[in-house]
């Protein structure tokens, strides 16, 4: 946990410095910043306004996923649109029903934008501005809409009240067959004012972020300012892979020397290395003086023939201690049907019983392969999407 919170602070400080926090706190806007490269795509910063709006403390929010504010009335399609925007690394604006800490729902305009790094063209963070839309309508517990008096001429507030008090009444939906009924889950449009205010907030936040990123030398920008590096994993793939708790790495056979392009947290924990010490390296650094060369030959053969294999290999941690690694390697194809990566899943021998009673270590290895195959295949399909 301690380690986790440290990672989240570093994610912010390394890019913008600690001073950026103060500057952001001076902004009146409601917003969060999330880091897709950390498993779970957690919030790494929440503004004071956001905390006021939701009733949570900073400690309760930072480290959690934005999904914590969603509830039964949250429109599935709106959430889907946000996911798609993250997948496609683009900005989006949707009206969304969220829930405060006390369980009360509120409508807001959700305006999200990726933060790009100037260095390698990738996404480092997402900023999500939230403009509450509470003035126009009141909502029942289940997220259904109640019309304001001035809109439809009569008031059903007492019904809503009953519902909130838990008397179990359903909230009647209005009978007007108006245009907005077409989107009953997304009933209110944000006004132009509210849209403008979201954009202004985003402008202000980005001016702070870009300003402070100059001081750390890790420049960020609002638009993708350079072509992404060859072999860079997409944000959505990183988010998907981040969910897998087992130790594994992804290597790219199309790059020189077949370097590691993704290493899971469990892998880093197993081997004692930091992420930046292994990314870009060939896996051979895990071997040492007693590593059997015939095993290495088997691995090379399986890669050459694009066939899966399982070997038992002596590996070495950063601290030079050795362990027997039950290594499973499998090719992983992308949407084009070609092998895009190899996944290597490690299990430390005699250390097989993990936190999942019942599923054998070998099966768990194979399920990692399955999850990785699904993620790589599906998430490489978007290239042809016309949305941008």
């Amino acid at each position: 946990m301690e380690l986790g919170s440290c990672v989240k602070e570093n994610s912010f400080n390394d890019h913008y410095s600690v001073y950026a926090r103060e500057a952001l706190d001076e902004l009146p806007h409601n917003f969060t910043i999330t880091d897709p490269s950390i498993p779970g795509h957690p919030i790494i910063f929440a503004s004071l306004g956001f905390l006021n709006m939701t009733g949570y403390t900073r400690k309760e929010v930072v480290g959690n996923s934005g999904a914590m504010f969603q509830g039964p009335g949250t429109c599935r399609r709106a959430v889907m649109e946000i996911r798609e925007a993250i997948r496609e690394e683009r900005k989006t604006q949707v009206v969304l029903l969220n829930y405060r800490k006390d369980g009360t729902p509120f409508w807001m305009l959700f305006h999200m934008s990726p933060v790009f790094t100037e260095h390698y063209g990738g996404v480092v963070h997402f900023v999500a501005v939230q403009v509450p839309l509470q003035k126009k309508m009141d909502y029942c517990e289940d997220g259904s809409r109640l019309q304001q008096d001035y809109v439809f001429g009569y008031c059903r507030k007492e019904v809503c009240l009953d519902s909130v008090l838990g008397l179990g009444r359903l909230c009647p939906m209005d009978q007007h067959d108006d245009v907005r009924d077409l989107e009953s889950e997304e009933p209110c449009e944000a006004s132009d004012d509210e849209k403008r205010s979201a954009v202004t907030a985003m402008d202000n936040i980005f001016s702070v972020l870009t300003h402070y990123s100059e001081s750390t030398g890790r420049l960020v920008c609002r638009k993708r300012c350079s072509m992404p590096d060859v072999g860079l994993l997409s944000t959505s793939l990183i988010i998907s892979l981040g969910r897998i708790k087992q130790s594994f790495v992804l290597t790219n056979p199309h790059l020189f020397d077949m370097p590691i392009v993704y290493a899971s947290d469990a892998f880093l924990k197993l081997t004692g290395y930091a992420s930046n010490e292994v990314l870009g390296c060939n896996c051979r650094f895990l071997g040492g003086k007693n590593t059997d060369t015939s095993t290495l030959y088997l691995i090379r053969e399986s890669i050459k023939t694009e066939q899966p294999c399982t070997v038992r290999i002596l590996n070495y941690r950063k601290d030079k201690s050795s362990f027997w690694n039950i290594l499973h390697i499998s090719p992983v194809r992308d949407a084009s049907g070609k092998v895009a990566y190899f996944v290597g899943v490690q299990i430390e021998e005699d250390h097989k019983n993990g936190d999942r009673p019942g599923l054998s270590p070998e099966r768990r290895q194979l399920s990692v392969v399955g999850v990785v195959k699904v993620a790589v295949r599906s998430l490489s399909m978007t290239a042809g999407s016309s949305k941008s």
Partner: protein, 439 residues
Amino acid sequence: MLKIKRVPTVVSNYQKDENGEDPNRSFGGCGRNCLKNCCIQEAKLPLYAFKRLTKVGGKEELLLHACKDTPVPFLDSLLLGEWEDRVQRGLFRYDVTACETKVIPGEYGFIAQLNEGRHLKKRPTEFRVDKVLQPFEENKFNFTKVGQEEVLFQFEASEDGEVQFFPNAPIDIDNSPNFVAINVSPIEYGHVLLIPRIFECLPQRMDCESLLLALHMAAEAGNQYFRLGYNSLGAFATINHLHFQAYYLAMPFPIEKAPTKKLATFNGGVKTSKLLNYPVRGLVFEGGDTLEDLSSIVSDACICLQNNNIPYNILIAACGRQVFLLPQCYAEKQALGEVNGELLDTQVNPAVWEISGHMVLKRKKDYDEASEANAWRLLAEVSLSEERFEEVNALIFEAITSGEIDINTQCLDQVDAITSSTHSDHAKMADSQECVVLQ
């Protein structure tokens, strides 16, 4: 009698040409690890026992149990691990991940896959398409004929209300186990068949309990990209043995993105809407306090359709919280020669996955030329006409509401009114717990 000729999909390595010899017959007590008495006594299969959730509507459970993007839940890991094991044992007819796939540019993001191997090596067979309910036929291929190695695990409700897993459980035939087996001609990674009470040899016919089982499976997988589907006879089911299909595709399906218009809320809070701006007309059922609420309403609708001989498809999405119901008439049109030749040439059978927006194409040419307009044109042929759809809706609403207790007749009238008129009526009752709320 209406019939169409099509190449049946090979879902099992033990499925032979319908017209040819069934090799399973020639094996006696057989040493081949089949599901027959000769081998099943000794057999062991993993058993996953799920928790019967009584209440799933709460905010906490919706997020933490079902749809939150949590680290791969157990059932997900089990299914993917077993499936990958079968990949590496070479049980599939082809490597589906080697089939090219793409998102078709456009507003909806239809998904196309080029799958040239799925339909080879089989002769076209005649299928009767004018009868949604047909009796089970022992002498045709059914899932009791698959080999044990094609079965991934048993899927049961837990005895004591907690999730349980037994890596090597005996098969208790008397207790009507549900099996999850691979489809050896997968459409996507993780393509499996859920066969409720396999040894009861039920025909492809929807019932509340089986639908609930499918919803549970979606909920337990806890992955919104794992969806289950169902095709009725006459809507491109090829095997008349009760089964659902399921696979992983980490993309939203176009049908899931389509806007909807709410029609009514039924008992237990199940919201019913109709699809808008989608080529196939259909209903969406979602929410409800419990999975039972949802399964009871949707199965009432399905039973109504099958009793009225209307073919339909079902998609179970959003971790079992959302069900799309699509009555269709493509096979009927095809049998009557009303489908245009160009569409028929593509040999795309519009079953649940195609209708949901995942088009599996057999010809390179169709894949290269895939466009939103083409996909739309095909699916538009699948859909009932607006007029017919409203008629069918009226039937469905009548079936659902007559199944509900304590609904007064006024409410029923309102239901009829909404389905038959464009200006919607409004029903509001004092005891809203049991009320059909319309808008």
